[in-house]
């Protein structure tokens, strides 16, 4: 009897926890949806946000460029090295060029850019907005008759859409160049002609377009999540830290999920 009652209590607690968790998740999704709706209402009025969006895009792009290029360099370099290291002579060396092009354009370029920008820009936005929330600056905006979604969120989200695709293209270029150069140095027998032939064998315009689209989608996700989590911040300095951590963790999960979900788009054309 007692054992049964004990199991009953455990099941009840588990059930209640799961229900509460589902409820929290639904409320979270609901609030996200509301914010998306608010942004959509502001978008047809570019005068309210376009200047700030370009300012933010400049900061995001220029300030992050060296780190993005460095990470892309490393990504391209390790791709050609690893590809060459796997070869045992059964495949022609120009395959290094194809693998390099495919990896950089469809994955490494956008994903490394996204990860760098998440850590650099996403965390900064979440911390900034959470800090504004806990110091009543968001309340001050409301008190002035201004809407934080118009004033703070929309410019940053639009900036993400503006800045990330060009950064992705530059990352792609650096990754390909780095892979080419490092490949020549580290893969025995590989020539520039092999690399070029391999890249051209793989390349189709849709791959580059896909890379740019992916960059834009990642940019939207990173800036939106950072803004949303930042504005939910509460509880002083600890709350700011929690918001920053949540933004980084959540963005990481979302970026990986988007990466998987976008694969069919690559195959579509």
């Amino acid at each position: 009897m007692e054992s049964g009652e004990g199991w009953g209590a455990v099941v009840t607690v588990l059930f209640a926890t799961v229900i509460a968790g589902i409820g929290d998740m639904l409320r979270f999704v609901g609030r996200c949806t509301l914010m998306v709706g608010q942004i959509m209402k502001v978008l047809p009025r570019p005068r309210l946000y376009v200047t700030a969006a370009f300012q933010q895009a400049y900061i995001m792009g220029i300030a992050s460029l060296p780190l993005v290029l460095f990470m892309a360099f490393l990504g391209g370099a390790v791709t050609s090295q690893q590809t060459g290291a796997q070869f045992t002579g059964g495949l022609p060396l120009w395959v290094v060029g194809s693998v390099l092009a495919a990896s950089v354009l469809t994955e490494l370029g956008p994903l490394l850019t996204g990860i760098v920008m998440m850590a650099r820009i996403g965390a900064a936005i979440a911390a900034e907005l959470a800090s504004m929330k806990v110091t009543e600056q968001i309340d001050a905006l409301y008190a002035m008759g201004r809407d934080p979604v118009t004033f703070l969120v929309t410019p940053r989200v639009v900036a993400g859409l503006i800045a990330f695709p060009p950064l992705t293209v530059l990352a792609d270029a650096m990754g390909l160049a780095a892979g080419w150069g490092v490949g020549l140095l580290s893969v025995d027998g590989l020539t520039s002609a092999d690399v070029v032939y391999g890249m051209r064998y793989y390349f189709r315009p849709w791959a580059l377009i896909f890379s740019v689209i992916k960059g834009g989608v990642f940019g939207l996700a990173i800036t939106f999540i950072a803004c949303f989590v930042g504005l939910e911040g509460r509880g002083g300095a600890e709350g700011v830290g929690r918001a920053t951590t949540t933004a980084v963790v959540l963005t990481t999960i979302v970026l990986m999920a988007l990466d998987v979900l976008m694969v069919p788009l690559l195959k579509a054309f």
Partner: protein, 250 residues
């Protein structure tokens, strides 16, 4: 006019406001007193719609803050100035930009450089020099930030002002200056103000009436003289320090 009707507000299990009824007529300056944690700031935030009541309502300028649409709230807020307890200046903007943002609305095209003279005048009213305009909030002392917060609240020339501890953290000279500003805004310009304060000097200097918030309700609301003469033990305890000082002077 600002009217609180049977206002209730809880935060979790903490029932802060338990049926507040209070009317602040046009042009009046009401000083709101009460123990720390009694809900004075909570009451003030309801008047600008930063908090929603669990029960009851707040009517500002004829508009119910609970049922107002986003557009109506925006309109009322443009006519309301709020002085935050910790100034709540925007860290990433200079003092000039903070003031400019308060003075214009989202659709305004007035450039910042045209606002310079107005900004200097606003700073002068709170006893600050023009060179403060180029500074950022992190470069200011606490007292200076507070005064810029006051200047920002009055920048849009609102008809209603909500002051949350406006003189806390200020030296006596600047506190007097702010008291005088509150007084002038009420008497000369007919601005309706609610001043939350722990400072009895400020309360008695600026208040046309004083209200005491105690245990979630308005315990007393009367003129300064009536408050001083009150036989209510809670009111007497609150103003006792002032009475001791007054009797020492006479």
């Amino acid at each position: 006019m600002i009217e609180y009707r049977n206002l209730h507000k809880s935060f979790g299990s903490l029932h802060v406001l338990r049926g507040v009824d209070l009317v602040v007529p046009e042009g009046e300056t009401l000083a709101l007193l009460g123990p720390s944690g009694s809900g004075k700031s909570v009451l003030l935030k309801h008047a600008i719609g930063l908090l929603e009541p669990d029960q009851g309502d707040v009517i500002v300028d004829g508009l119910s803050m609970s049922t107002a649409s986003a557009r109506e709230l925006k309109r009322v807020r443009r006519n309301l100035g709020y002085v935050f307890q910790n100034a709540a200046l925007f860290d990433s903007l200079s003092v000039a930009e903070n003031l400019w943002l308060a003075q214009c609305d989202e659709t305004s095209t007035r450039p910042l450089r045209d606002f310079c003279d107005d900004a200097i005048e606003l700073l002068a009213r709170v006893n600050l020099e023009p060179d403060v305009l180029a500074k950022f909030p992190a470069e200011l002392s606490g007292g200076m930030r507070k005064r810029v917060g006051v200047a920002r609240a009055i920048a849009s020339r609102p008809n209603y002002l909500l002051w949350d501890e406006p003189t806390t953290g200020l030296d006596p000279v600047n506190a007097d200056n702010i008291d005088q500003l509150i007084f002038d805004l009420g008497r000369s310009l007919g601005v309706t103000s609610i001043v939350v304060t722990h400072d009895l000097d400020t309360a008695f200097d600026v208040g046309d009436r004083l209200a005491l918030l105690f245990e979630g309700r308005i315990r007393a609301v009367a003129t300064p003289a009536e408050i001083l003469a009150s036989e209510d033990p809670v009111v007497k305890q609150f103003v006792r320090r002032t009475k001791i000082i007054e009797s020492a002077l006479h």
